[in-house]
Amino acid sequence: MPNPLEGLLPALEVMALEGQILPATGQAVEDLMRPDQDEAYDRVRLGDDLLLDTKIEQPNSELYVPVRMIHRKEKHLFRYFLDGSARTFYIGNVVEGDRQSPVHVAQVGAAVVHRDNAGKMHVVRSEHRLVLLMDKDAVSFGDKVERMVHAAGTHYLFVPLKEADPLSDGVEAGKQPRSRAAHKANWQMRKLEHQIARELQRDVGEWLALDGGLGSEYVKDWPEGKEYVGVVKSSYKELKFCVKAGRVRRDLNVYQLLAGLKAGERTLAFGLREGAVATWYVRIRGPEHLEFPLMGVLRVELANPGREAVPSELINEISGALVAERCETPHGKDVRWHAHLYAIFLAEQAVKNGFVSTEVIKAGLRWPVPTMRK
């Protein structure tokens, strides 16, 4: 079997010849993400929208709305599901004089799956990239390394570590060179997801469910009329909601809002990003079987480029279809199973199945031997 990482080896060779290498102990080491990383990213995506005070649906004004579960046999709303994944490995530091940069290799990928009327899943598209990440300005041969990676083909990407992006710059860990690579890789994944979602051919009425909230890239670049929602399973917990009843105004935090949300109900929809996104919560299961009131709840984000009031009927329909997604679950496979859509989990599996294993990464990414003797 050929080395699947072969395209990166010339770039490593350049680094080894031009600079000095301090290899990672025990070969490539995976950078593991914090368990609450999704929530941190949600915080970044929300930007300044931490107090949601604009009701964006019409005509409903109730805080909690029971929804009718809509099974695909009745109306098959969500047909496409999109997710991405990224795994980052630290392989060493490249040193030139008194300057140095950590060197990372990441596998990023995104996949969209289609569910047919019988419920069977098909992978529509699955894309993978191998990404070399380093601070190219830290060494004199950074441009050369970048050129070597680009020359390896479209499957390979070179990402300068210090290049700005909203995700890496938005989280605290993204400010440290060593831990920034994982966030850069995650941003590359988001971009790949976005690209696949934009290029996906769908018919009217065939909705797409994306994993995670709709970042600014979606709101800006999506043609109008496309039917899609972002599904946030680990939503930011410091959000507040302003609820008005007549002249009475109440500010609720997430705990207060969701404590009264029963299974099969949704909350009132609020406007995000000046109304370009409508968001609301749906409880797909629990809380009686779950340990914590916030478990079993999804936050839905619906693109609303026109910033008009969204029909409550549409929100009910989307919510009803999401409630139906509670069967099956990735219980036992993902700690976020209570709020994870199984179909999105399958899209994630489609991505991960295309990754090379950690053993292959370790065996395939070896620094050239002459450098080791330097």
């Binding site: 099974h71 695909r72 046999k73 569910r115 419920g119 069977k120 899943m121 299961r285 079987h289 139906a324 997604e325 509670r326 069967c327 099956e328 679950t329 990735p330 219980h331 036992g332 496979k333 199973w337 199984y342 179909a343 399958l346 599996q349």
Partner: protein, 584 residues
């Protein structure tokens, strides 16, 4: 120094890929692909493949997988499992809305059916490729030619093939299955053992089908058949054509290249009964056959004489004899009567033996040689029970040769092309043991002790079919039993002598392991799991054993030295008038 090339070898090597190309023309539908994983690697012995949605495969189906050098590797499906991505049953429970039986999954759980396959053969010549089937290799159902390669039947010459049934696969493919003549009738191997629970009318039917198959393919003229009828009158009309035979059975016979015909040139030997003297009828179930010969045993028949020894009184004494006291007495009796010794001159009937001197005087047991009077008394009590009190009528005081034959004489008169049915259905256990012992003793004597000239007059092969073999060659019990000794001798030497034992029993575990071990071909019908856990069945894969508990009527597992794994077969119903089975 480089080796010089040999043009002949080069030419042969050059031909190999072309030959393989020509051989490998997959035509069937791809039903799945081989799958090797970290935890379940494929090996030279077994591989797994996942099944395309909707494909139905069953255990015992034979499949072919693409192998290196455009060859095919054939294998037997031993099990099929469904794998899902649920890590536990709890996950499935929770996924159903915490145990809601009404819930319908919006996205059905991802799952796949995976078949486990035991490798049988590879079709590369001359040496097969036994590299593991590579992951992603396409898998198809094998066709009949493929099944023959898988089982090694393709290497059997036409004249070596004995039809043994058909394999029916899940996709409707059927394949004829053959036994190798040299492993059924010798010299490479011999004997067939058939086991399975009773009541399915399968063991006897299969034995009779196989005998008919041997007679039709190997040649009737050279083979004599001796059949023991042990149940009802099941085998007392084997010369009569079956009534109302189903068309599918006709087709099956013809598919196997056989004619659905009854046995020909059949002799029936039926036992003398208590009423035979007055009625003239034999002691058998139902109406006797049109033509039959009666047999009976007088004391002289059992003991015999020096020129023509009988089966021996010892066959009748089936009680514990740890010090061989009764054995010594039997020896005295045998020698005395056979040699016409003065003390035994007057002993010519059972009555003489049981009531008169030298064993008894005025109703009191006497010391005989070194055997004490009490042991003599015990012997007389045992023998009286067998030949007087509990006997079926086969023991007679004096046998009239015009009315009843000596069974030994009749066995010695067997001819090639002739089938002899000996009825023992109504006999007691001791009488059955005597008859069976007598038959195998005669047959073994005929073949093992014959001179070259005498062998020329004998049929080339003799097939002996007996049910309930466990009674005559038990696994546990008297290891010195004279019957067991003969059965072991036939089992061990039969393949070279030309004596073939086709035996049946419910439980193979109850038959002496040496007998089972010497049976080259084993046929197993439905059996229960406790029986299958016995060591006697260790040649069957664990997964395959589980399927044996649910074999249907008429289905059997066939193990033969040529095949790498046992296969499931069906066979046609008998073409003779099987009275007990016709309604089933």
């Amino acid at each position: 120094m480089p080796e010089e090339s040999n043009p002949k070898i080069d030419a042969l090597v050059a031909e190999v890929p072309q030959a393989a190309e020509a051989r490998h023309k997959p035509t069937g539908t791809v039903i799945g692909k081989a799958s090797a994983t970290e935890r379940e690697p494929n090996s030279s012995e077994r591989f797994c493949f996942w099944l395309a949605p909707g494909v139905v495969v069953n255990p015992f189906d034979i499949v072919e997988a693409e192998q290196m050098e455009t060859t095919r590797t054939f294998g037997l499906v031993t099990n099929i499992r469904q794998i899902t991505d649920a890590p536990s049953h709890l996950s499935n429970y929770i996924s159903n809305d915490f145990g809601s039986v009404e819930s319908v999954p919006q996205t059905p759980r991802q799952g796949v059916n995976v078949a486990e396959v035991s490798v049988l053969a590879n079709d590369r010549e001359p040496r097969g490729i036994y590299m593991p089937v590579q992951s992603e290799a396409q898998v198809r159902f094998a066709d009949e030619a493929g099944i023959h390669i898988a089982l090694g039947i393709d290497k059997m010459a036409e004249k070596e093939r004995i039809p043994a049934g058909v394999i029916e696969m899940s996709n409707g493919t059927t394949a004829r299955v053959y036994l190798h003549r040299d492993y059924v009738l010798g010299p490479e191997g011999a004997h067939v053992n058939i086991c399975g629970i009773s009541g399915l009318a399968t063991k006897t039917s299969y034995a009779m089908f196989l005998i008919q198959s041997i007679l039709q393919t190997v040649g009737e003229a050279d083979i004599a058949v001796v059949i023991l009828n042990v149940k009802q009158n099941d085998l007392l009309v084997v010369d009569k054509p079956a009534r109302g035979m189903r068309p599918e059975d006709h087709e099956l016979w013809e598919r196997l290249g056989l004619k659905p015909k009854p046995f020909q040139n059949v002799r029936y030997l039926l036992p003398w009964g208590k009423d035979t003297q007055t009625t003239g009828l034999p002691n058998c179930f139902g109406e006797p056959p049109d033509q039959f010969q009666l047999y009976a045993y007088s004391l002289v028949d059992v003991v015999g004489n020096r020129a023509k020894p009988g089966p021996g009184v010892n066959l009748l004494i089936r009680v514990p004899d740890p010090w061989d006291t009764l054995g010594a007495l039997v020896g005295e009796i045998q020698q005395g009567i056979m040699n016409d010794e003065p003390r035994w001159k007057s002993v010519r009937t059972w009555n003489d033996l049981l009531n008169g001197p030298p064993l008894m005087e005025k109703g009191i047991a006497q010391k005989v040689g070194e055997v004490g009077a009490s042991s003599v008394g015990r012997f007389v009590r045992v023998l009286r029970r067998v030949v007087r009190n509990r006997q079926s009528g086969v023991f007679v005081e004096q046998r009239n040769p015009r009315k009843a034959a000596n069974l030994g004489d009749e066995i010695r008169a067997i001819k090639g092309g002739q089938t002899t049915v000996v009825d023992i259905a109504k006999l007691t256990d001791e009488e059955r043991a005597l008859v069976f012992g007598h038959i195998i003793q005669e047959i073994y004597g005929m073949y093992a002790e014959a001179t070259i000239d005498e062998r020329a007059d004998l049929p080339k092969k003799v097939i002996l079919f007996v049910d309930e073999l466990n009674k005559y060659a038990p696994r546990r019990g008297d290891s010195q039993s004279p019957i067991l000794e003969y059965v072991l001798d036939i089992a061990a030497r039969g393949r070279s002598l030309g004596v073939v034992l086709i035996a049946a029993e419910q439980f193979m575990s109850e038959v002496h392991p040496q007998v089972v071990g010497n049976c080259s071909t084993k046929v197993i019908g439905r059996s229960d799991s406790s029986e299958l856990s016995d060591d006697a069945y260790r040649f069957i894969l664990k997964d395959v054993k589980a399927h044996l508990t649910r074999l249907d009527k008429g289905e059997l597992l066939l193990s033969h030295p040529i095949y790498r794994q046992p296969v499931k077969i069906k066979f046609p119903r008998p073409a003779y008038q099987a009275i007990g089975h016709e309604s089933t």
